[in-house]
Amino acid sequence: MPLIDLANPTRFLTLASRALPWLTIATLAAFAVGIGLIASAPDDYQQGATVKIMFIHVPAAWLAMGCWSVMSIAALGTLVWRHPLADVAGKAAAPLGAAFTAMCLITGMLWGRPMWGTYWVWDGRLTSVLVLFLMYLGVLALWRTVEDPARAGRAAAVLTLVGAINLPIIKFSVDWWATLHQPASVLRLGGPAIHASLLTPLLVMALAFLLLFLTLHLAAMRNEIMRRRIRAMLVREAESAAQ
């Protein structure tokens, strides 16, 4: 597929509407398999069934970071290559990223309640995800505040790239802050040592989440293109009424 074809929004719309049903089916299938595997996975001897929150928490965390990468590439597309669909892709990814980050936080809190006895501790990992969530909300607020989509796109692209540079620094600072105040947490959600029987369902769930992201992203891009067309129609309508 030459890139020039994708650059044409009309061509993109046709492709998107052809691909969407298949992607939806693939997503549902992956989730069905994943949930089946989770149901048959053994409970943790220490954490019991609570550990299964991990199967949502960890893929959500991966996608929370992945969405920012997608947005960063889209931002480069907007600023450097001036690809006409780049800011559409960036705009469509932002609310999805925010949603996955929120999902990661909420599952983290639900998991923390029985583990720590409270919904929230200012643990290094959770806190960096919270800061990431705030950054997503900032991008969303910028998109909503700037009226003209082209200007909003460029502004959001700059913010996204600044965020991409700053996120590792933030992560590092927060980790440093967290270890300063408390020893590394004993119980880590999805730490490096993971039992093999849990790895397969986790990878299947990760695939399901990835497919979910692709489906929603494509649908959101399609909606955004249509929203811009409606905007253009309204402008034309105002012009035609000039008499």
């Binding site: 809190m109 409270t118 919904y119 929230w120 501790v121 200012w122 643990d123 806190t127 919270l130 800061v131 705030l134 909300l137 900032g138 607020a141 909503r144 505040t145 927060v174 802050w177 967290a178 105040h181 408390q182």
Partner: protein, 222 residues
Amino acid sequence: MTALANIFLRDMRLSVRLGGGALIGVLFFLIVVTLMPFAIGPDLALLARIGPAILWLGALLASLLALDRLIAADYEDGSLDLILMARVPLELSLASKALAHWLTTGLPLVIAAPLLGLLLNLDPTATGAVALTLLAGTPALTFIGLIGASLTVALRRGGLLIAVLVLPLAVPVLIFGVAASNAAIVGPVPFGTPFTILCALTLMSAVVGPFAAAAALRHGLE
């Protein structure tokens, strides 16, 4: 009456359509609350003790944020001229605008407060107390803010000045808001005492605010 209902509905509709103000206020609230542990450390017991104060400070600063647009938006597009020329008493129009402003920017903060209480390790009683005091106290912040917004409306960079003008006036609200929350959590004063004073402050500012703001706008004419 229809005129007042109309300006109220118009302001509600504008904030819902723009969607920015309320969300940015809540986001700012969330950021302020998140920053506190970075500054004072993640000690949950300490956070729980000063949690009501953090939430109140956050809500106070967040409610300042949107004040900038309360009158200035109407000033910039010429609507304020026509509002001044209407036969509807200016005080009542301003009160309606303030009410709409509180519903779209103040109330979301009250709703967000219990969620942020989780981050600060507040127990249900404390969370409930903070939410209740915010519900009773944030209207006072809006009505006091109305005065600041009216005084600074014609100034460039008025937004910065609003904060300087309004924050000292908000001191009593902050004192009794936090006092009532703490009274509900640790005592020893009964919750009712500071809470009643907080309600009185709100009622008083609901009266003083619109009159002072209307006077400020009329005298601002040149």
